[in-house]
Amino acid sequence: MHESALADRAGLAAGNIGSGGGLIDGGGRRGGSGAAKTPDRAYVTGMTIALSGIAMFFVAIVSAAVVRRGAPSGDWQPIRAGSELWQILSLNTAVLLASSFTLAHARSRGRSGDENGFRRWWVVTTVLGVLFLAGQLLAWRLLEAAGLYLATNPSSSFFYLATAAHGVHLAAGIIALLLAAFRPVRRMARITAMEVASRYWHAMDAIWIFLFLFLIFGGRA
């Protein structure tokens, strides 16, 4: 009881890092005796710090593209692969946004103890993530059909680099979602695994929107 009260205090103090993150984990520990275990809250904090680094990786790519676009050589050519490319990218963005909503729904189901609802919405999120990756591959095929390859132009290089890097991160997110839902993670409460995975997923969503906006206003211009 006393430990629970302390955990609640710790969770409230940590609540500034996101919506309810501290309240879910509450700084709680699994097991009560023996060697000190890593508090569940630490996993959420670790993921937040890791996401900062990942975000900066993509920001650095975009910053390099901004500078390269204005280079005196003037060889930055807008991506011209027809309107289908932008339609597919817009659809992919909608799919990824939808996956964030379904993930939030799955989390709320999981919190309320609805195991079936949680799994159902979690699987829907995973499927949407796979659909997004398939859509990105389709966008690559369209670029290829338009004769735009990695080394064709600085803008196409940026497009391939940014989408590939994001795709790899999202594929890791899909694996994390599957592990969090269907395989118990050692040394971590399941609700914490759920929280960490969903944080990562929402961050990938936000990073893609950032990249997509830059592709629209920077890559196409």
């Binding site: 103090a13 937040t48 900062s52 676009r69 204005g70």
Partner: protein, 86 residues
């Protein structure tokens, strides 16, 4: 915050804060801090036209703003958890 600490600890915090303030002030007024000392950056910026200079400034801003935001965010996170033990 400082009042929270007592004795030697409070003095140490004041000394560290004063030292950080001095370093920040020196860095702010030092020409070298404005990247004038980086020959490669200076040459590439000087060789470009107005358009490339604007692009360079935008690139720096794109890189600066998120990293500054992350610094403040992580600092705030650490500060908010300063009294939590495990």
């Amino acid at each position: 915050m400082i009042a929270h600490f007592g004795g030697c600890r409070g003095v140490a915090v004041r000394v560290i804060a004063a030292a950080l303030g001095c370093v920040t002030a020196i860095a702010a007024i030092a020409p070298g801090a404005l990247a004038q000392g980086c020959a490669m950056c200076y040459q590439s910026a000087a060789a470009g036209n107005d358009h490339s200079r604007v692009a360079l400034q935008h690139g720096i801003l794109v890189l600066l703003l998120p990293s500054a935001g992350l610094f403040v965010g992580i600092f705030g996170l650490i500060y908010s958890r300063r009294n939590i033990s495990r």
